[in-house]
């Protein structure tokens, strides 16, 4: 009977509907769980480059090798330019939807740790043996309130790449002191050659060499005082450092379009053999290796100053911003295990050699294997760190401060390079940013 059929249909509708709903919920739960398709655990890795594969090949290669070695773990890599990346993290931190593992500035990481958004990595790093392979200074740098909140993403080995051919063609030899560099700048400027290739447009942070200069003018001794307010940035030592930048500028060391060219254009300028030095770091090694200047390329830790107040025989070879892990990872055993495995691989000898193969120095105590021909450029940089008596500061100065102070430091240096600020105005600019904290 139609009426009976209708009645059965109505009776069936509820349990079938309920069954479908349960199935749907279970399916969704399965999708959102860490154990994805085929029992794989997915972890997310968020980086500070829009295209991680091309802009950060070392990280990309580590992830690929890790996935191959750990088929039960899937690493979802995403990336955005720094400002957008930080903005996304800021929103995610407020809604507790941070990626599992991500790159972030140290100052931001400390804020997140304070907000209980980050995992204390001490047990994980200890258990996996990573802790004892990292330099003490790095661990101390990434420790707050007794918790280790991060592990070094990559090494920050910075300096001046040198085109020996330009120096030789102009009858110059490799400088050692600031006066030597000044002489080189004057000679090259007279011949229309750029001495130091730098680019301020959209890349105000590209002042690595001058951050080392801060250490040569006593930054390490002053760091604690600057952080607690007992020391001033506009001190006579730093002002003297800015004066030396001004001397270099007046000697014609920088390109006339330093304001409008980007860092990438500065790199291109060097790769095309149009500048004698490039202010950069090991991340440029691969590009230099593939260019025509490779046979003539060298690496220099920068000039020593007769009036410097800090250690002179130094090269900036420190950990860059950290990789951190979201606290919610600890709430999920499968995910926590996957993250542990990932970190263990990242800091293993295999992971570190992948870094080296992609033009990055190791961040652990691993002794890298370098191909003297195919990696000749990177080798010059690593050799520089191994020279007799050469030491490294514990941290790059800008990385110790909140982002706005770091930006003020960059502005102060480029302000002098571009003749917009006098040395004392430059120092005062940073002091003002410190006062605002």
């Amino acid at each position: 009977m139609p009426g009976q059929n209708l009645s059965w249909s109505r009776r069936l509708r509820r349990p079938v509907g309920a069954g479908l709903a349960v199935t749907a919920i279970l399916s969704l739960a399965a999708c959102s769980s860490d154990a994805g398709e085929g029992g794989k655990t997915t972890i997310t890795l968020s980086m500070q480059n829009a295209d991680v594969k091309s802009a950060d090949p070392a990280t990309w290669a580590i992830v690929e090798a890790f996935e191959e070695a750990n088929p039960d773990v899937d690493v979802e890599v995403s990336g955005q330019p720094v400002a957008e990346h930080l903005q996304s993290l800021s929103i995610a931190a407020q809604s507790d939807t941070l990626p599992d593992v991500f790159w972030v500035y140290k100052a931001n990481a400390e804020e997140m740790l304070e907000g209980d958004r980050l995992m204390d990595l001490s047990p994980v790093l200890d258990e996996t043996g990573i802790l004892e392979r990292l330099p003490d200074s790095t661990v101390a740098n990434y420790t707050a309130d007794g918790k280790v909140f991060g592990a070094p993403y990559q090494g920050l080995l910075t300096g001046l790449w040198v085109n020996n051919k330009i120096l030789a063609d102009n009858g110059l030899s490799m400088p050692k002191t600031f006066d030597d560099l000044l002489e080189v700048a004057r000679t090259l400027d007279a011949k229309g050659v750029v001495t130091i290739s730098d680019g301020a447009s959209q890349s105000a942070f590209s002042v690595w060499q001058f951050l080392v200069w801060l250490d040569r003018f006593g930054f390490q001794d002053k760091a604690d005082g600057l952080l607690d307010g007992s020391e001033k940035w506009d001190n006579p030592d730093f002002i003297r450092m800015y004066e030396h930048i001004a001397e270099l500028r007046d000697a014609g060391a920088f390109s006339s379009n330093v304001s409008t060219q980007t860092y990438q254009q500065a790199v291109d300028q060097f790769l095309q053999g149009k500048a004698a030095f490039l202010d950069s770091g090991v991340w440029a090694a691969s590009a230099i290796q593939e260019s025509e200047v490779a046979p003539d390329a060298d690496f220099w830790r920068g000039p020593e100053f007769s009036d410097g107040t800090g250690e002179q025989n130094i090269v900036m070879n420190v950990a860059s911003a950290p990789l951190v892990v979201a606290k919610k990872v600890a709430e999920d055993d499968a995910k926590l295990d996957a993250v542990k495995e990932f970190l263990e691989f990242y800091y293993s000898d295999e992971g570190q050699q992948i870094l080296v193969d992609n033009g990055q120095p190791p961040v652990t105590d691993y002794e890298p294997k370098l191909d003297p021909v195919k990696q000749s450029v990177l080798k010059t940089a690593i050799d520089e760190t191994r020279e007799d008596g050469v030491t490294s500061p514990e941290s790059q100065p800008d990385l110790l401060f909140p982002v706005d102070v770091s930006n003020a430091i960059y502005d102060s240096i480029y302000g002098v390079i571009q003749d917009q600020l006098s040395p004392s105005e430059a120092a005062a600019l940073v002091q003002k940013a410190l006062d605002n904290q």
């Binding site: 400002a83 957008e84 930080l86 903005q87 993290l89 800021s90 931190a93 931001n108 804020e111 997140m112 304070e114 907000g115 958004r117 301020a200 447009s201 959209q202 890349s203 105000a204 390109s255 006339s256 379009n257 330093v258 304001s259 409008t260 060219q261 980007t262 909140p402 982002v403 706005d404 930006n407 502005d411 480029y414 302000g415 571009q418 003749d419 917009q420 600020l421 605002n436």
Partner: protein, 289 residues
């Protein structure tokens, strides 16, 4: 008889627009206004600090520079862009050969993304590799810092902005001219008015509404200039070529001072609103006079 204009029906019809307006216009302004009174910095909590962010702006030389740059670009644009685009529209109205192609050519920059406009002009204005300095070099003129120097950058940004906007403004003027009643023009001709007199006493007064609209669009667009600055100079050297919006971006996203950035956003909003309202009031007074 059904009256569509009964109050509740009007309210019903306005309601969707009201909801959208509130969600996408009023709420963001109120939200930004609220944040501007805090020390929000992204990752940590936001504490109420009253008007401190606004007071800090008064003492911020980069902010003052961004205000003066924006106003400079505004003055230059209003002074040159409105007459130039109006003149071009008048020219297009004449029987010019290949007028259609010329119109398309002039309108072209308006459909190019500002970020690309900036990129193209970098290759023209760059002091070292730019086309312009290469062109003036044979004349014995030393390289000029069109962008990236102490003083010329805001002027160069204004020139690029005018170049990018002139076709759009011209098109609005051209459309306005097409709508002018022919009888009035013919009557003025019969009365013996010269071309200049026709322009001054007939065309311009009748185009006042269009001139107002173009000027208003221009003012609001100047207060939104960002990509040109970003591509041409990145706001440098040392923030000397920032406009209000580019500096707001720097403070908010690069410096991660969200509270201060929102204070700048509110200032941009207020200055833009006041300028537009003042202009509208002046136009209305002119119409009534």
């Amino acid at each position: 008889m059904v009256w569509v204009s009964s109050p509740w029906k009007i309210a019903l019809m306005v309601f969707p627009a009201f909801i959208l307006f509130t969600a996408f216009f009023v709420y963001p302004i109120v939200y930004a206004g609220g944040y501007s009174l805090t020390d929000a910095a992204g990752f940590s909590g936001a504490d109420f600090i009253g008007l401190d962010n606004y007071l800090a702006l008064v003492d911020d030389p980069f902010f003052r520079r961004s205000v003066s740059n924006t106003l400079l670009i505004l003055v230059l644009s209003v002074t040159f862009l409105v007459p130039a685009s109006f003149g071009l529209a008048l020219l297009m109205q004449q029987r010019v050969r290949a007028a259609g192609a010329l119109r398309a050519l002039l309108f072209g920059p308006a459909i190019v993304a500002p970020i690309l406009v900036g990129l193209v002009w970098v290759f023209i204005l760059d002091p070292r590799v730019g086309l312009l300095n290469h062109l003036v070099e044979p004349l014995g003129i030393p390289p000029v810092q069109w962008i990236g120097g102490d003083s010329l950058t805001p002027y160069s940004i204004a020139v690029v902005f005018i170049w990018a906007s002139v076709g759009f403004a011209m098109t609005i003027f051209y459309a306005g001219l097409q709508l002018l009643p022919r009888e009035v023009m013919e009557a003025s001709s019969l009365d013996g008015a010269s071309r200049w007199q026709q322009l001054r006493f007939v065309t311009v007064p009748m185009m006042r509404e269009t001139i107002g609209i173009v000027s208003l669009l221009l003012i609001t667009n100047v207060f939104k200039i960002f990509e040109l600055v970003y591509m041409l100079t990145g706001g440098g050297p040392v923030h000397s070529s920032e406009t209000l919006v580019s500096y707001m971006y720097f403070v908010t996203f690069t410096d991660q001072r969200y509270g201060s950035g929102m204070a700048i956003a509110m200032v941009v909003f207020v200055i833009g609103a006041i300028t537009s309202l003042a202009y509208l009031a002046l136009s209305r007074r002119g119409r009534l006079a």
